[in-house]
């Protein structure tokens, strides 16, 4: 028998197996569960979960509300984050990245604790008992704002200042320079920020549960309920497939299929 020869390429075998076993197969299982149903212990192929989802008024309204919450949260994040990123990127302060750091620092602190802290604050100012929707939106913005600030700052910071000077020299006033030059050039950051915020604000049910006293059900929560409360894993899987479709469509629409999450999640911190 030939002696085993070590080569660098072989180092990807364990990771390849790991991905096959714990990423690919589990995703196929979701697909399998979504299109099967169980009757008397027997599994059979079925569209009943799919039909069941789209004929259920409750599920459809959850879907619609979830999307609405995600759109509003994303828009609010963008409206708040853009001025901040713009001011920071333009600041003449020598250590700009320290300023940036102060704004995005909380994203590395356990989010359950931060959201619970926000809950205490909302309770204190009397919003907790009454304003479920408002609180959920505040929570989503609170949790995901750094994920919007970071990509916006990165793109705004990279814009070549001479473009802006050229635009001004050619007679553009400050407003036109912004709308015709700065903003279009910052679009990659806007898109990457949107993809970073939209999906989690449809699925992160810890935020909505904690801040709405478990009164608001978003899509992520619905999946959780079908697995933990109703014990109907087939429907839970189908809702996951529908969620994946929505993610896929938003990414297709925004062209956000890039590995920008690493950047936003902050490898440039450590």
């Amino acid at each position: 028998m030939q002696r085993f020869h070590f080569s660098r390429k072989q180092l990807c075998i364990p990771y390849g197996l790991f991905l096959a076993l714990f990423v690919v197969i589990p995703m196929l299982l979701i697909l399998f569960y979504a299109f099967t149903k169980e009757t008397d212990g027997n599994l059979s192929f079925s569209f009943s979960n799919f039909i069941g989802f789209f004929t259920s008024r409750a599920k459809l309204s959850t879907l619609l509300m979830s999307i609405t919450i995600a759109i509003i949260s994303t828009a609010l994040c963008l409206l708040i984050a853009y001025p901040i990123a713009y001011i920071l990127a333009r600041s003449s302060f020598r250590k700009k990245n320290v300023l940036l750091m102060i704004f995005i620092l909380p994203m590395w602190i356990n989010f359950v604790l931060r959201i619970t802290a926000l809950r205490e604050l909302l309770d204190l100012i009397g919003l907790l008992e009454s304003q479920n929707y408002l609180n959920t939106l505040i929570g989503m913005v609170y949790d995901f704002l750094p994920f919007m600030i970071l990509p916006l700052y990165t793109t705004l910071e990279k814009i070549d200042k001479s473009y802006l000077e050229a635009a001004a020299d050619l007679g553009g006033n400050k407003f036109t320079v912004f709308t015709k030059v700065t903003f279009p050039l910052s679009m990659p950051g806007v898109i990457s920020g949107i993809t970073m915020v939209f999906m989690p604000s449809m699925t992160n049910y810890v935020v909505s549960d904690t801040l709405s006293n478990f009164n608001i059900t978003i899509l992520g929560k619905l999946i959780d309920e079908y697995f933990t409360t109703y014990d109907n894993w087939h429907m839970g899987s189908m809702i996951s497939i529908i969620l994946l479709l929505i993610i896929f469509l938003t990414m297709l629409a925004t062209g956000g299929f890039k590995d920008n999450e690493k950047e936003a999640r902050g490898t440039n911190l450590w």
């Binding site: 990771y15 359950v112 802290a117 205490e120 699925t203």
Partner: protein, 264 residues
């Protein structure tokens, strides 16, 4: 001038929004009343005493930390090896591996969580320490690969060949030449994994053994069951974690922002 004042005002308002909840908990961790009352404040270390005497919370804190370091350590080894393997593989192998590696990064955490629940319940490993560690590794390893790959691309590929020519075995060349050159990426991947694991709720909730809790699952369940107001020591726990994390992050960032580190 007006512009400058406006800029500072916008920044100040957003910073207030970001830090107000944190500040509130830190201040009221020194007040032992069960529910925060803005009109009453009596300074004491009572909550901190309660916190350190609470065996259960101490156990949970310990659980959270060992889980984060175990998952991050394993993810770092697997991910570093994976990145090196992907880097030296032919495109036909590297491309699909990279693509699949992106799935957990893009995917919603709840979908990853239930997909693992489906898998592990089939093989009777659902809600075991094994499923918990694997769950966290699925979360962390792709980020290690993403941290290490750029460092491999920056590396001078001749140094490995030179080491072989000078008589090193491939393993020696790997450990003495390649690994030191990509070490900053490996470290970044490890630190990122630790923070991802510490931060996680959803995957933990779907893979953990029934009696095991991390800070995330414990606090979420305390809010769910309404027991959080009867355990004001949680305020001290949060305050402590906020302060420790802020200090660690500031120290790491202000101390050394080497140019080599910046473009990671």
């Amino acid at each position: 001038m007006v512009k400058k004042i406006l800029s500072v005002a916008i920044c100040a308002i957003v910073l207030l929004f970001v830090y107000a909840p944190i500040l509130l908990l830190v201040v009221y961790s020194f007040d032992s009343s069960k529910i925060i009352n803005i009109h009453e404040f009596s300074f004491s270390f009572e909550l901190y005493k309660q916190l350190f005497r609470d065996q259960k919370i101490m156990q949970i804190l310990f659980n959270t930390v060992w889980l984060a370091f175990a998952a991050a350590g394993l993810s770092t080894i697997l991910g570093t090896a994976g990145a090196i393997g992907i880097f030296y593989s032919r495109k036909r192998v590297a491309k699909p591996l990279n693509a699949v590696s992106q799935i957990p990064v893009i995917n919603a955490e709840i979908v990853t969580a239930i997909s693992l629940a489906l898998l592990f319940s089939m093989v009777a490993l659902y809600r075991t320490y094994f499923s918990l560690i694997v769950g966290h590794m699925v979360l962390c390893t792709p980020f290690v690969v993403l941290s290490v790959l750029p460092k491999l691309k920056q590396m001078d590929s001749n140094t490995y060949e030179a080491a072989l020519d000078l008589g090193a075995s491939p393993a020696q060349a790997l450990f003495k030449v390649v690994i030191p050159q990509i070490f900053s990426g490996i470290l970044a991947g490890f630190m990122l994994s630790v923070t991802l694991s510490l931060d996680d709720y959803i995957i933990t909730a779907f893979t953990k053994p029934k009696t095991f809790d991390t800070i995330s699952t414990y606090v979420y369940n305390a809010v769910k069951n309404g027991t959080n107001s009867s355990t004001p020591a949680l305020r001290a726990l949060s305050a402590l974690i906020f302060v420790v994390m802020i200090v660690i992050l500031l120290v790491i960032n202000l101390r050394a922002r080497k140019p080599a580190n910046k473009g990671a």
